[in-house]
Symmetry: C2
Amino acid sequence: MPRHRPVLLAAVLLLFALPARAQSPAATGEYPGLETGKMWTFDAPPMEYWAKRYDFRPTQAWLDHARLASLRFSTGCSASFVSPNGLVMTNHHCSRPCIESSTKTGEDLLGDGFYAPAKEGERPCQGLFMDQLQEITDVTDSVTAGIGAGTLPNVAADRRQAAIRRIETRCTQSVPNAACQVVSMYSGGQYKLYRFRRFSDVRLVFAVESQTGFFGGDPDNFTYPRYDLDLSIVRVYEDNKPANTEYFRWSPNGSKEGDLVFVTGNPGSTGRLNTMAQMQFLRDVQYPAQLDALARQIAVYQDLSRLSEDREKALRNTIFGLQNTQKAIGGYQSGLLDPRLMAQKREWERSFRARVTANAGYRQRFGGAWAGIETTRASLKAIDVRRRYHAFGAYGSRMLGMAAILVRWPVEMAKPDSSRLAGYREANKANLERVINSTTAVDPEQETRLLAAYFTAMKRELPATDPVLTAALAGRTPEVAAREMVAASTLKMAEGRKSLMEGGAAAIAASTDPFIKLARVIDPLERVIAKRVADLNNQEARFNEQVARALFAVFGNSVAPDATFSLRITDGEVKRYPLNGTYAPAYTTFFGLYDRHASFPGEEPWSLTKRWSERRDSLDLSVPFNAVSTADIIGGNSGSPVINREGQVVGLIFDGNMEMLPNRFLFTERVARSVWVDSRGIIEALRKVYGAKALADELEGKS
Amino acid sequence: MPRHRPVLLAAVLLLFALPARAQSPAATGEYPGLETGKMWTFDAPPMEYWAKRYDFRPTQAWLDHARLASLRFSTGCSASFVSPNGLVMTNHHCSRPCIESSTKTGEDLLGDGFYAPAKEGERPCQGLFMDQLQEITDVTDSVTAGIGAGTLPNVAADRRQAAIRRIETRCTQSVPNAACQVVSMYSGGQYKLYRFRRFSDVRLVFAVESQTGFFGGDPDNFTYPRYDLDLSIVRVYEDNKPANTEYFRWSPNGSKEGDLVFVTGNPGSTGRLNTMAQMQFLRDVQYPAQLDALARQIAVYQDLSRLSEDREKALRNTIFGLQNTQKAIGGYQSGLLDPRLMAQKREWERSFRARVTANAGYRQRFGGAWAGIETTRASLKAIDVRRRYHAFGAYGSRMLGMAAILVRWPVEMAKPDSSRLAGYREANKANLERVINSTTAVDPEQETRLLAAYFTAMKRELPATDPVLTAALAGRTPEVAAREMVAASTLKMAEGRKSLMEGGAAAIAASTDPFIKLARVIDPLERVIAKRVADLNNQEARFNEQVARALFAVFGNSVAPDATFSLRITDGEVKRYPLNGTYAPAYTTFFGLYDRHASFPGEEPWSLTKRWSERRDSLDLSVPFNAVSTADIIGGNSGSPVINREGQVVGLIFDGNMEMLPNRFLFTERVARSVWVDSRGIIEALRKVYGAKALADELEGKS
């Protein structure tokens, strides 16, 4: 799971409330295979499937309890209430902004961890909040009212957006502390109003050391067997008193292999309703280009690292981060390259389309969508090379990025605010100014090498007559061009940049700086291609909606919608899996933590804090530490609770294994596993390593 | 590594001695890539390659010492002297016959382990011996003398065999305790006389419990990270006194990641000189058929296991064993299916053939070999289905095997001994009689299911008119045919079989037993096809020899010959490798043993003996336990020492990882690793778990 999830702020805020009705669970699910996964919504729980597969028949009270004890955390994570006094459990990496902002001078809470045994010592998480889902209402009719089949795409989008804002505003104003969001399900096939109760007083109670919360670092990220205590605990207050609401009790016995478990949380994004054409585009165009770019970029940084120990140190985390992205995309791509998976997807699509075709009404309304998407994808494929090189995203070259800002600045500033490119609007432009005025020295060697690698790739992929290529190389080799450009440019120094910025359009037009010259060539081309890409994407959005509506027409709620960072419940079993000729066990233990630590002596990602080294012998090392199940999760589920049939906590989600990455497009459960911290491991560590008796007692209901 | 290596007895024995000269190390190695691996012979050590790659320049004394401290164990394993008093270190699984034969009534040495603190307590390993390599002599000229290009293949083979026997006999009689073997290198491109000193008084000193020596069982076999103490120690005596000869000293500090290490031992068999045609045959014909058969057989046993707990218990080890074979063949096949590996092999062959073609003499002598092999492989491919079904190897059906013996018995017994099929000769026939007279009950359900699966496969693969298929099914479904045959047959009971055996040819001819009837159809067909396969193999052997001679002509000794269960030395580095998105560490620790044990509570392959549970806290759990290096090994290397630059013991080979399996055909070292027990782990366990102070002292040179 990516270490640094983009923080999904509740961008979609909230004003008034529609009369809402509770949704009854889908009465007659068909469950046409689990290819589309198990990220069920609380208004359409798969009762028949659960009954059939697990003999599990939750009451509405069970479901309501699970929903209300689950939380969406404003850091782009999931969380859950785990005590009657407002304790909330989530991952360490989810509370990072709070840990950082809580750190006082002279402290290092990230490095040392934090524990407030008494409420007075808890520290406010500035600006963070938790959302508890109160109610789901179908607002599809209100959102789509007055948008006929003949409405132009742009007009339709604007009307939809306006309707959504109205609904959200009304909802937000309906009750105190309401936060409301219209969630588009099935790519706009359905619109659901999610009304939350927002808890804005969040305080830090406990955090492990970063080293413990990210043991194994980027190398071990997305892998299992694993030994990671990715845990923080906050407390939620209302009116300055601990929030007393629904919460998950702590399981007294934990889980065992074979147990049915559930995960509640907010999976961010999946592409399981993608058509074959979209998946083929990713497989054949987008991912290869991304992997290629990553490999080149990593190679440059690795070469640089060999130049000196200082560079090696400075670049280590950058390289790890890139390798982590490489691992993730490589994992998605491995699914798309798997002929069995693709055959399964193809068969799924074939049978789905056959059902659409068999119904005259469906055929007429949705039948053209797949061919439509094929056309847009073919167009996107045709312009992809230009999209990548008629662009400023030059593999991390700071100087080209700066040149882009300088060239665009006078043009954009001359426009009314609302017409500018987003970054240049009054509200945002300070960020760009910071880039230009930055006093952090440009590294000419790094710039040269990144640029040379970029030009080399360009030369291989673009026709010789391409205007950007011609402008960049001017007859030189990529290496010579890059070295000469960096050497000659005044953009290396802040003064050079400032004078160009202050000089305005005239200075830019007159500049002979090689980066400015190149940026002047790229700028108009980039605008053209960006417009074309946006148009194609808008076109395709309509087809996506048709596919989604068809899906819903054919299967109803029995197919779970793609993830939308909204609350879901997913089922799974605690289960080992075949790995590398043997089995990855369902559980690891603390023994394994110390084994992995001792196996990489002195290496940072596997180092232990003093506390963990010193208190080793006080731990029962055979206690389960991490564990896996077949629950269906993805980024955004970080911090989700793992609960048992009784709705009790048995674990805390923090990652998925490598084998889960292809699940982004097609759900399978043979070897894909969600990875969690075992509840028994949490208690053992709290009591024996952190001396957090009061906290452990409160979690276990002993206080 | 296969758990039960076929015990390669020194089938090639030994009588007289040629005057021998020591071979000088290859002076000018070319080392055209390492595709053919690093299993170097002691008469052609790759001095330039070692110097260049590791800055390592061993003296002749270093090499002689390493050779003389290394042993070939008659159980098909490798071993080494590790004390001046004849202590020999090898794997537990290599000493198994000795442990079994040493066990007295009321004891369970396999289950409990064994330790003789004093020499009086050591127990003789009946019939086992160790061979120490004294001298290597090139006898190619003597072996091939008088075999011209025009000699018929059969005649040439006979002459060669006779020459080899003469050479071996003379050598064996040359000095006391000599054991001599002519080893064919490069598929007969070279013949080398290996003269050994044989130590026939071998006594058991120490053995771990089977559970410890095979921790993780078949599931963990061929895998890493690993936690296995596959160790036994024997002592070699001469004239009733501990043998005092060259030995490897124990490293005082063990190894660390990045260290250069060597492994000396006797790799059994590789196919790195295989041509593309031979590899394609394995990939497209042989391995798919074997994997198919294994999968079917496993499915039958798994189905049977579900019938009762007793069956499940009885079949568990059979299933594990088959899965282990499946894992090994699957591993080989994964290499052949890897497009990159095959492309590398193809390029290697192309460049090799180009060099053959470029030399007129080579072209004339060797140039036709590849096309020749393509032809024989095409012929073998054409008859492969018949080879598999016009045969008695009916997936483990005991009854069909018995029927084969009964039908063939009168035919073979009527021939002179030397003309009979090997199993029916006077020296061997008791084994067949034992099969017929066995009192172990035939399991009709198991027979029926195995046979039904066999018939099903047959029906799918053979044409409907095939005589064996027609005879077997007689119009019935495979299931009905199998059930009726087993039900009707008298071969289920020993009496039924005995009366048919005693009745001779007449009884067989008159029998209406369905198995006898089927065997009468198979028998003549099987003889025809076996003859054809043997002829094709003989034909191909000559082409193989040409390829090997060409290789030797082009590259000389700089290409290591394929493994032949003769002493080799291989170099490697202690090195982690990328596994499943992260790294498999260079070393594991005792922590990991207890982690894996605790991760599979109550499951047999990962259980620990009482001793290991009770003494856990006395161990320093962070001591390195198992480790990996890039040394080039294969089955037969079991029990090999891992030594450092100083020729000191740092480990004990016992397995290779999954990723090493494709090395059978093309050596690579990115992720392929040999797996060993760390010398520090051995001492820690001997002292703390086994209380074997005297033994540990002797190994460490402290006694």
